[in-house]
């Protein structure tokens, strides 16, 4: 499975890590839904750290598509909300 962390690049993550990642991802989503800033920070940091720890970076010239995409490390909750709608941050 390939995971992209925005602003950092792509990682190949073993499928066995999926359960843990999903767990953290759900925590992140819940935090955003409840506008819970401390929980949001903790969940985002935890999720990204997990991807970096479990994954190995893809070579820069790889043209593979990611299975999952994660927000920037320093994202605000607002930014993440916009990322989840297609009028948001993604240019053209």
């Amino acid at each position: 499975m390939i995971v992209r962390i925005l602003g950092e690049g792509q990682f190949r993550v073993d499928d066995t890590a999926t359960t843990e990642l999903n767990h953290l991802d759900t925590a992140l989503e819940t935090a955003v839904e409840h506008s819970d800033e401390p929980a949001f920070q903790a969940a985002l940091t935890g999720l990204l750290a997990q991807v970096r720890a479990d994954g190995s970076p893809l070579p820069p010239d790889s043209l593979e598509e990611s299975d999952l995409i994660l927000p920037h490390q320093d994202s605000s909750m607002d930014e993440v909300r916009k990322l989840l709608t297609d009028e948001g941050l993604i240019p053209g």
């Binding site: 955003v32 709608t85 053209g92």
Partner: protein
């Protein structure tokens, strides 16, 4: 917010990915011939590469501007510290206080700028890495594009093009966002840098090498006064040592001495006439009925008692 229907428990990761994919497909669907898509996308990639490189340069420019301001503020803080020291040495605690207050304000601005500088540096690094990654992917895409075109058969083309295209367009979305974020941050900091420039121009922090500030003016005045005092002492010492006979001089010497009495002009016009002891004879002359105009340079008011 996005709790509607099946999107409710999809997770952030999956939803962001879907949004990316939707964007990529929209661009792809515009083209009738899949091969056109390749060239179109390649053009976009090159444009984005140019843009991200310009972004790196812009951030670097902002970083340098902040660096320049930091240097100016540091110089200013040092100068104000010197002024405070000097003012205290001259017994002017009020001036010292004033200088230290301004120093503290300059120091606050400096701390703020240090934070901005670190942020800009990080942003510059991120964009540089992003531009290198995009360059590698654009090169890979070009190779694949040429291969696909050379071996083009309608049957397989669409799939292979889609693969190459979605891989690169994801990167482009990522890099595009990175540029946008860097631009936003830079714009914020430029606004703050502009505010600091204005603050320095206003004299609130007093620009180094610029116009003279009031603390410095007062210190200069104090120090000029004390220079005059020490010059006077020196001259008196010289006179006392070298020309004791002049003390008994006639009205000529009296008048010159009375005319002097203030600072260095006296030293030039009447080098041998000590001011204080000679003033009384002039007063004596006036009270004795001698017209004041008869005394050389006596149009000036008597200066005895002043300047010492």
């Amino acid at each position: 917010m996005l709790m509607k229907g099946t999107a409710a428990r999809m997770g952030v990761m999956k939803r962001v990915q879907l949004v990316f994919k939707a964007k990529a497909n929209k661009a792809l669907d515009k083209m009738e011939d899949p091969r056109e898509t390749l060239d179109y996308s390649y053009q976009r990639q090159l444009e984005l590469l140019t843009k991200v490189r310009r972004g790196v340069a812009d951030v670097a420019t902002s970083r340098k501007r902040v660096e320049l301001q930091m240097n100016q503020l540091q110089q200013q803080a040092n100068k104000l510290d010197d002024q405070a020291r000097k003012a205290l040495g001259l017994g002017r605690e009020d001036l010292a206080r004033d200088a230290l207050t301004r120093k503290s304000s300059a120091q606050g601005q400096l701390n703020d700028l240090q934070g901005q500088y670190a942020q800009l540096q990080a942003e510059e690094e991120k964009l540089t890495v992003a531009s290198q990654r995009l360059q590698a992917k654009v090169d890979a895409f070009r190779t694949r594009k040429e291969t696909i075109k050379a071996t083009y058969t309608a049957a397989e083309a669409q799939t292979r093009i889609n693969e190459a295209f979605s891989g690169i367009s994801e990167e482009m979305g990522d890099v595009g966002m990175a540029i946008q974020r860097a631009e936003d941050k830079t714009a914020q900091m430029q606004a703050r840098a502009g505010a600091i420039d204005e603050l320095m121009a206003s004299g609130a922090l007093d620009d180094v090498g610029g116009r003279r500030d009031d603390i410095q003016a007062e210190l200069d005045q104090l120090s000029a006064n004390s220079d005059v005092e020490s010059e006077l002492r020196r001259l008196r010492g010289e006179i006392a040592a070298n020309t004791p006979k002049q003390l008994e001089g006639g009205p000529n010497g009296d008048g010159q001495a009375a005319n002097g009495g203030q600072g260095q002009s006296q030293a030039q016009s009447a080098p041998y006439a000590p001011p204080a002891p000679l003033a009384p004879p002039q007063q004596a002359a006036q009270s004795a009925g001698i017209p004041v105009s008869d005394l050389p340079s006596a149009n000036d008011q008597p200066q005895d008692g002043e300047g010492s």
